[in-house]
């Protein structure tokens, strides 16, 4: 299989869906002439023209809302947020309009929109640009939320998201954009709501999403090599819908669960997963469920401290060892 970057995988997904469906339109700041602030849309303007790849002014509430209106009419807008952090200025359009329209209309109106872009800290851009809103988005019924960790997942999930008839929030990670992975050359889809066991193990389950999966896999390697501990790593891939069965199956097997995410601890995704585990797999637990999140402060700028603020392979390793 070809080895391509997470960035290229997203680019392929967009190109294939633009090619397949004339109703797909990509819209956002710098997606066209500039080739994308992070080059996700590189080459797409040349290939599909300015009708399908639309540069917008810096005006998130305007163009996200415009995308919602266009989606009601049957287009499939893929809206790029240069950073997911900017969702806050379009909050009403996403979480009042996109999320609620179908419900408030008694099922008469559909909003097949995808809003995508990077949502991560760890890049020295300070608190305003480092938000990870997957928990906030997922707490709004009507919305679907996806957080791919690998190139393979990014492509298959983005294609599914674009074909989905409900609003899908697609959260990427700038630090992963250059990560390479094996991606089939041909067409494939990964259904939303299907977790992936990225590594099998017997002593403890790590449940994570996004870049936390990559760091958990590094920790699992270390734990095996240096401590003879066998860790299973479950990649949620999708936050809502959530693959609860795969989470429970893993915990029932290993009897221990550590929930890792780069989000802040209060009401993070891990909080919901912890509740689900205690509710449905309590009798299988040999230890309390633990969570490892970002240290509970706005994203700090100072590079060494920013690194420390996010769950690192080392912190994950230490936490696993404390649970055994």
């Amino acid at each position: 299989m070809p080895l391509i970057t997470y960035r290229e995988a997203l680019n392929q997904a967009l190109a294939e869906e633009l090619e397949r469906d004339p109703n797909v339109v990509l819209m956002g700041e710098e997606v066209g002439q500039f080739h994308g602030a992070y080059k996700i849309s590189e080459g797409l303007l040349d290939r599909f023209g300015p009708k399908r790849v639309v540069d917008t002014p810096i005006s998130e509430a305007g163009f996200v809302g415009l995308g919602v209106g266009a989606a009601m009419m049957g287009l499939r807008p893929v809206i790029e947020l240069m950073f997911w952090s900017f969702y806050s200025v379009a909050f009403d359009q996403i979480l009042n309009n996109a999320a609620n329209l179908r419900y408030m209309s008694g099922g008469l109106v559909n909003v097949p929109i995808v809003i995508r872009g990077p949502a991560n800290g760890g890049t020295g851009v300070g608190a305003t640009h480092s938000h990870t809103p997957e928990n906030i988005l997922a707490s709004h019924p009507g919305i679907k939320v996806v957080c791919p960790a690998t190139a393979f997942d990014a492509k298959g999930l983005l294609k599914s998201a674009i074909r989905d008839n409900d609003p899908v929030m697609f959260l990427e990670n700038t630090i992963l954009y250059n990560d390479k992975g094996e991606v089939p050359a041909g067409e494939y889809l990964i259904p939303l709501g299907l977790a992936d066991v990225k590594r099998t193990g017997t002593d403890l389950s790590i449940i994570a999403h996004g870049r936390a999966v990559i760091n958990s896999l590094k920790a699992a390697q270390l734990l095996e090599a240096e401590h003879d501990v066998s860790v299973e790593v479950v990649d949620l891939r999708s936050i809502r819908p959530l693959d609860v069965e795969t989470i429970l199956a893993s915990v029932r097997k290993t009897n221990r669960a550590l929930l890792v995410d780069e989000n802040k601890p209060f009401c993070g995704v891990g909080a919901q997963v912890a509740y689900l585990i205690q509710d449905r797999a309590f009798d299988y637990l040999d230890a309390p469920v633990k969570r490892l999140s970002a240290i509970d402060a706005p994203a700090i700028y100072s590079p060494p401290l920013e690194k420390e603020q996010l769950p690192s392979p080392q912190r994950i390793t230490e936490t696993v060892l404390s649970m055994l």
Binding site: A61, G65, L66, D92, N96, M104, V109, P241, L242
Partner: protein, 364 residues
């Protein structure tokens, strides 16, 4: 069959009542069409009055933003829409819903929270929808629907359809950021959208003077290079004339515009508003006496020889009866069942045969 009657019996008297009656879009109206517009305005007024009674009787929950006094705006604007035109509005949406032809029974049932409501009792007063009539809501957040209106226009242009989107907002919406962002996008991309500001003078309890800077609300369009007009919203014919012109331009040249329609509401912002702190009773009375849109169209139609006092009474009686039937329909309808809480949320859940995703979508 006789030819449709378009001749105005007394054009001079009619033109004195409403100069716009001579504009082609109005001059070509048949007598039946003129009466139809009057009937529609009357139906909206009586529907709203019946809603108020139902609210006072505790049948309707939450907010109730009545359209009484503004009838000529929705009726005038929507009556010049063509087959490919669309409309979206804010939370004072009952008049627009009736103007596009929605059934008063399903509107009243929606207000009562009943399963037979237009949104199955899930949206309420501020959230009426009927995509089959190109009516895209009914939106609760001030200004929040305005980007959606531009999106509808964007889709029309993208699909190569010669239609336009009437995007209504109140005078309270014009200071919201989303509105200005949308103005910019609409002008930048030449979208076929007509923004209609229904200026009733008050954003809730704050008068225009206390809320909005500058020489006029529509004039702000100049900053975006958009055409704008101001219109007397009490005069049905003038609303039709100005809306028609801007809609045609939007359809044919794909050019956006702003139309500020001067109107007035007789009731509070919502009926929970005591309506005694920010304006005087005399002001309301003065509007009622001198500018009431129903009185104006009544007088115009009488001058045209289209309407008689007897016929007006008949239309009024029928409108009251229709509103009463709607209330009875709503009263007799069942509430939605508990299972309905989780339906109409995700398309996929409601279409299980075509479901692609897996996993759990709902949580406890």
């Amino acid at each position: 069959m006789s030819k449709p009657q378009t001749a105005i019996l007394d054009p001079k008297a009619a033109a004195a009542a409403s100069p716009a009656c001579l504009a082609p879009v109005n001059a070509r109206l048949t007598q039946a069409e003129r009466l139809g517009l009057f009937r529609l305005m009357m139906r909206i007024r009586r529907f709203e009055e019946r809603c108020l009674r139902a609210y006072q009787q505790g049948r309707i929950a939450g907010f109730l933003h009545l359209y009484i006094g503004q009838e000529a705006v929705a009726v005038g604007c929507c009556s010049v829409m063509q087959a490919d035109d669309h409309v979206i509005t804010a939370y004072r949406d009952h008049g627009h819903a009736l103007a596009v032809g929605m059934n008063p029974n399903e509107l009243m049932a929606e207000l009562y929270g009943k399963a037979s409501g237009c949104s199955k009792g899930k949206g309420g007063s501020m959230h009426f929808f009927d995509p089959s009539r190109h009516f895209w809501g009914g939106h609760g957040i001030v200004g929040g629907q305005v980007p959606l209106g531009a999106g509808i226009a964007f889709a029309l242009k993208y699909q190569g359809v010669k239609g336009a989107c009437l995007t209504f907002m109140g005078d309270g919406a014009v200071n919201q950021g989303a509105v200005h962002e949308t103005y910019n996008l609409a002008a930048l991309w030449s979208l076929p959208v007509v923004f209609v500001i229904e200026n009733n003078g008050y954003s809730m309890g704050t008068s225009l003077r206390r809320s909005s800077a500058g020489p006029g609300l529509a004039k702000r369009a100049e900053g975006y290079g958009m055409t704008w007009e101001v219109c007397d919203g009490h005069d049905l014919y003038e609303v039709r004339e100005k809306t028609d012109r801007l809609l045609q331009r939007a359809r044919e040249k794909s050019q956006p515009a702003v139309l500020e329609v001067m109107t007035y509401r007789y009731r509070g912002h919502s009926v929970a508003d005591p309506d005694s702190t920010y304006r005087t009773k005399e002001e309301i009375e003065n509007y009622r006496r001198t500018k009431d849109p129903l009185t104006l169209i009544h007088e115009t139609l009488v001058a045209e020889g289209v309407l008689t006092e007897d016929l007006a009474k008949e239309i009024d009686t029928a409108a009251r009866a229709e509103a009463e039937r709607a209330a009875q329909f709503a009263e007799a309808s069942p509430f939605p069942t508990s299972e309905e809480i989780l339906k109409d949320l995700y398309w996929e859940e409601d279409n299980p045969a075509r479901k692609q995703s897996q996993g759990q979508l709902f949580f406890r």
